[in-house]
């Protein structure tokens, strides 16, 4: 590039020898070119020379024609350069190339043969001074402001009691979790409708705009939160783009913008009916309008009670006063009747107020009890369950041990029994012993005739005399 610049600044090539001008060569030696040929030759040379140049200047006569291409002139104090930027490249520009803007254009020099003009065919353009994004932001802000889209008078009030809350954001982001957390904690019976959308990257602005248009059609949605969590200016960029701004401006329900952090201010924030510094804050706004609504009812109810009480008191005093006047001595019955009415009404009112107070008190008590029990109760329940489980396991273990022991015992007893000689006796056998029952007799020769032996039967014993050895 530097090479080109140097060449561009190089002094023009020496004109052909001055001699030529004074004395033209004989016609036979002249080489006459057609305009077309010459132009083509110049074009070939210029176009191969300035293939990729960067040039800085001020934009003028910048205009996008019906064909979608941008035509402009780039100039400085000394010269002007016509230029064109085709639709295909133009759509990548985030800012609008407008007159008076200092820009750096990159492109190649081309010749437009029919007019004998050269121009730069621009591939990319960037503003000088402000960054491209900053410039685009300022430009859109100015346009929309001029249209009155930021006017306070356009801002709609959020619903006093938001019943169905629409949220346009990414389902994958932190923003949705933050918002649901706040709503879950402080607005436990909220009805929430979420439309997931990409919130960054090419084409995300159109997606967000589409999502806004879709969710406002869901019946009953009466407030919309549009936003995303924090990020770089590029990440948040979609919320600085015209489609999103327009979708918010034309949305049929009030919109709360909730983009990034406190310090990020986007075009969407200007157009929205309410700007929340963060997604969580947007949820808080919705919750607090509901809280305010509840408080309003309560305050009105209190005033209602007080007003009625005043009326009854005043009337009651008047009746008593009238009753005590001598002029009314003739109407004791009617007054008494009136008096009874008042007393009864007073009573009813008192009862009603007491009931209401009582209900409140009970509510508070119930809540406090819930709160008390919440931790302790749950912990106790856990411990209880664990104890019960341990208990049951212990019981089974004991049972199983005892059962096993019993089984073993039964088995042993059975074995013992089978070994016992007595069991054999049961089948008709008998045991013969020596006289003092110290030895069981196994052979006839163990005893002599005349010896005394004992015989054990299954049931009982015999004392016997041996009569003969066989």
């Amino acid at each position: 590039m530097r090479d080109i610049a140097r060449r561009a600044q190089a002094p023009p090539p020496e004109p052909a020898s001055p001699v030529d001008l004074e004395a033209p060569p004989p016609p036979a030696r002249r080489r006459v070119l057609s305009v077309g040929d010459l132009t083509a030759a110049i074009r070939d040379q210029l176009e191969s020379e300035f293939v990729n140049v960067w040039v800085e200047g001020e934009l003028s006569n910048a205009k996008v024609w019906n064909n979608g291409h941008l035509y402009f002139t780039l100039k400085d104090e000394r010269a002007a350069l016509k230029g064109i930027m085709f639709r295909t490249q133009l759509r990548y520009l985030r800012f609008k190339p407008t007159d008076g803007l200092r820009v750096i254009a990159r492109g190649r020099i081309t010749i437009y043969d029919p007019k004998g003009e050269y121009q730069i065919t621009c591939e990319h353009m960037e503003p000088q001074g402000l960054g491209e994004l900053q410039l685009a932001y300022e430009q859109l802000k100015k346009t929309l402001q001029a249209e009155g889209l930021f006017d306070e008078s356009r801002k709609r009030a959020l619903p006093a009691f938001p019943r169905k809350i629409g949220i346009v954001t990414s389902l994958d982001g932190a923003a949705i979790r933050d918002m649901l957390k706040v709503l879950g904690r402080r607005y436990r019976n909220a009805h929430i409708v979420i439309r997931s959308t990409r919130v960054q990257g090419d084409g995300s602005a159109a997606d967000i705009a589409q999502a806004i248009r879709a969710i406002q059609r869901v019946p009953g949605v009466d407030v919309l939160i549009v936003g995303r969590g924090g990020g770089s200016i590029e990440d948040l960029w979609a919320f600085n783009e015209e489609p999103v701004a327009r979708a918010i401006a034309t949305c049929t329900v009030p919109v709360i913008s909730a983009v990034g952090h406190e310090t990020d201010v986007t075009i969407a924030d200007f157009v929205a009916d309410r700007r929340a510094p963060t997604p969580s804050a947007a949820a808080e706004i919705v919750v607090s309008s509901r809280d305010e609504f509840c408080q309003r009812i309560d305050r009105l109810h209190d005033r209602l009670d007080a007003a009625m009480w005043d009326i009854v008191q005043t009337l009651s005093r008047r009746v008593h006063m009238l009753g005590s006047r001598p002029a009314f001595a003739g109407f004791p019955t009617r007054l008494a009747l009136r008096d009874r009415d008042v007393t009864e009404l007073t009573h009813r009112l008192t009862m009603q107020m007491r009931a209401r107070l009582g209900a409140r008190e009970r509510q508070t008590l119930a809540l406090r009890r819930q709160l008390d029990q919440f931790d302790l109760g749950r912990r106790l329940a856990t411990i209880h369950t664990r104890l019960a489980t341990a208990d049951a396991r212990l019981a089974t273990a004991v049972h199983r041990g005892r059962d096993r022991a019993e089984a073993r015992l039964r088995e042993r007893a059975a074995r013992l029994e089978s070994l016992s000689p007595l069991a054999v006796l049961g089948r008709g056998y008998a045991v013969a012993w020596n006289a003092d029952r110290t030895r069981a007799l196994r052979a006839a020769s163990d005893v002599n005739p005349g010896d005394r032996i004992r015989v054990t039967l299954a049931d009982g014993e015999l004392d016997c005399d041996v009569r003969k050895n066989r």
Partner: protein, 81 residues
């Protein structure tokens, strides 16, 4: 609970507001006052009941325009409840 004459919260609240102001002026007869008072109590109860009756719901609007329950990863994210 739902009275045909009470359309929604905003109108209920507006009516309650107007009614309290009227009562506070104290220019009415006892009967009128009492009627207003009872209506007021009714309105306030109506609002409270309606506030409580809704159920927590989280839905997702799909690309095709259907509403379906939010994934449990989102819906179950409120341990603080």
């Amino acid at each position: 609970m739902s009275e045909p004459s009470i359309k929604d919260f905003e109108t209920a609240l507006a009516e309650l507001d107007a009614l309290v102001k009227k009562l506070e002026e104290g220019e009415l007869s006892l009967e009128q006052s009492l009627a207003l008072y009872e209506r007021g109590v009714q309105l306030s109860r109506f609002c409270h009941a309606r506030l409580e009756e809704a159920e927590r719901r989280i839905e997702v609007l799909t690309e095709r325009g259907d509403l379906k329950a939010a994934p449990s990863s989102l819906a179950g994210d409120d341990q603080d409840r």
